[in-house]
Symmetry: C2
Subunit: 513 residues, 2 copies
Amino acid sequence: MSARSDGARTRRGSERRRAGAIHQLPRRQIINRYPRLAIVSEDEIEALHQASLRLLSEVGVKCYLPEARSILNRAGALVDDATMRVRLGRELVEHALTTVPPVIELVPRNAQNSTLIGGDNVAFATVLGPPNCSDIERGRRSGTLADHDDFLRLAQFFNIIQLIGGSPVEPLDIEVRFRHLEATRSMLTLTDKVPYVFCLSRQRIHDVFEMCAIARGEDLEQFARRPGVFSIINTNSPLQYDLAMATGVIEMARFGQPTLITPFIMAGATAPATVAAGMAMNNAEILFGVTLAQLVRPGAPVLYGNAAKNVDLKTGAPAYGLAESYRFTHIGGQLARRYRMPLRSSAFCASNLPDAAAMLEGVGAIWAAITAGANLLMHGAGWLEGGLCSSFEKFVLDVEVLQNMAVWLKPVTVDAETLALDEIAEVGPGGHFFGTARTIATFETAFHQPIISTTQNYGAWLEAGGLDATRRAHRLYRQALAEYEPPAIADDIREALDAFVARRTGEGGAPLD
Amino acid sequence: MSARSDGARTRRGSERRRAGAIHQLPRRQIINRYPRLAIVSEDEIEALHQASLRLLSEVGVKCYLPEARSILNRAGALVDDATMRVRLGRELVEHALTTVPPVIELVPRNAQNSTLIGGDNVAFATVLGPPNCSDIERGRRSGTLADHDDFLRLAQFFNIIQLIGGSPVEPLDIEVRFRHLEATRSMLTLTDKVPYVFCLSRQRIHDVFEMCAIARGEDLEQFARRPGVFSIINTNSPLQYDLAMATGVIEMARFGQPTLITPFIMAGATAPATVAAGMAMNNAEILFGVTLAQLVRPGAPVLYGNAAKNVDLKTGAPAYGLAESYRFTHIGGQLARRYRMPLRSSAFCASNLPDAAAMLEGVGAIWAAITAGANLLMHGAGWLEGGLCSSFEKFVLDVEVLQNMAVWLKPVTVDAETLALDEIAEVGPGGHFFGTARTIATFETAFHQPIISTTQNYGAWLEAGGLDATRRAHRLYRQALAEYEPPAIADDIREALDAFVARRTGEGGAPLD
């Protein structure tokens, strides 16, 4: 792996396509111009909306952070500090919804990797947060910074990934109080794509903000003017915001950075065992966070974070990426559109291996998400085991799926040129088109080249080694790491980041609260 | 495996759920009430339609069968017998389209397995036609009648399959001139679902019609009054109908049985290397078959058979189930809807193994097909290697995917009961719903139970054997064969079928033309 940081040389290197190099789609904003699938009626969406408003005003949310309760109270919410219960009136919520921006531009340190979130735009983020990782050669293991950094290199390498899930695997070999510092340094030096913020205490959030500001060559005030990072707020369903999550909503909003407000809804466990109740509660918890964020800073970017699903009622385990979850996914899309909010969805799966089940589940989840109108797909590459493991092979398999979706989303041109009636007439019945001028001119560009799938017939495939897709993905991830080149970074920025990490480490990092 | 043919006992046997038996969705008509995805504009669909009409009137189709040319000629088509070229005027085609039935009911010998094709109805057929088959224990091998019959048993066993692709693997151990007789006997005795007709010569078609009529207790005249079988017509793209296929269109129409008119369009090989040209030619070839069928018998059931795709232009191999094919799939759906014709689509894949790639490809193809509005999904279970191999494990993996689609298609109920606001209020913030009356009452029925996917965590899964999904599918297919019970059949029908096969075998079967 090259350690060069000379931008010009690196760029030239990337453009000179080497023989046998991994073929990818170019970096670009992915746009979904297709209609979104609506699976319930407008009346049913209205019923879900009204049910959520009733939950917020009648049952309320338990909010552990006094500061949050106080903000909401000042705006007119009914607050009971003894029980920490906050009840929101309909007007408060509906007013908050009017100031949510429908589209956000996230600008990372390399502005060429800026990404639009919302509207017709689609962006893919890596897996985030598993404590374990695996590859088929070295097996399953606890995450380390070395593995974490290799996932970041893959995220940087594959053009189809626009956002970095801060820790594609938890670097468990780094002490917790220093972990956000080391992870953020890796994110900001090994990649130049949109980074993630760890919403796990005010101190950690501010540390990451400062580092991301340094990376963009800004102070905190400048940083707060332009979204450039993102974070997930997982509510503690049912109907709870704990200290860390409420703090996250407030600090992210204060600095104008987007949160993906994503309730931890599992119908049958944290919600009643119906899709409708799960979605009503999911919606209520999102609207609570949206209201808080908009009170902190009207116009604060927030995403409709949908990860609702059911549990397997026989075992109590979450049914990540299984059939029922598609229905939650599409209804979430409809609700987000009702509010004109950008939609976060997820490429979940339950499988314990990067095998046929992982794809059976994951591809279904991704099709559901994209047809639901997802603007930001979390866990887009690498997720296994319901989030307890990230897999290097799964990462590459998912890259193939995401590229497939991008190919599908590319609008088809129907015009005289592409209809090619003259070409058809010239070849005539019974002929073939292998040798027409068009085929010869476009044989490398007319159709997408997959990286995992192969059209080799059985004999040729067997002769080439007869590797199954997971083994081919293993080989590709090793190749991607070998082809990886670190992005350019100015020496003064690199030094300022290192100095910040050294200072904050010297101060003891951010101890657990 | 039980060989009982006592209907009453068999039925009771099926209803008595044994401990550890494979859990399935019940047999029922699957309905797609969701909107269909349109990926090009109405204007672009019109341009494709007009381009097809121009191809039919200006370039024409080479039709090898004199009888077909004569039928078309009598109706006003321009026919040149020397070149076998047939040119169809716009009015002829547009008139034919007015008599195509939008919905067909297929009634097999067990009328309880009747299946609607068209409108909002969805039906799944097995793989059809590979010369090879495989399972991970015995490996890849040439098809035999024993393997063929085991696939039929799986098709009968799994409720999610409604139609039998005549030969889920070719029984290559049976001489060609007898093969249709033996395969049809297996179809009509090992299953009581909708059977397939082999359109490979007039004699074979009539043999199968006679057997299917016997199975329904009818003579040929009665048989021709009610659709109960189906067949695929693959045109010889570009723009050719060979003897067998034109004969198939005529004979199936004459007997009122539906054909899936499916051009063999591969953009870059049998069509120009663009999606638009591929779809224009695909459409022209379908409209040609539709016109011929409607001239033979106005109102003859025909499906819009879409299996258009591209080739890998570097190798010339068809790109079955790869990313580009989704775009062909959705445009095919739009064209079928323009003509109010039932849509056939396909669960293709290119993979050589029942592995992660097979699911990556196959699940994408199935999502594309269903969201395109497919009414009949061909090769719904078991297809591998671009159609050169059928896999027992893939069959079960696909059953899981098809069940998932059926679960997704089940409309969500949003009403006071399912919104469960009282239940939420009662549990309140921070509680859980494992113990509510609803959860306890519905824990077996609230959510779908998968057969391949598992929510077992890594440790529990490892302890349970740590089998990957393909190995679990292997175990399940063995279990399904063990649980299989042959459907009831009246003794006189069974005897009549055997007598027919014996007679036709004695007469030398149906030699190759």
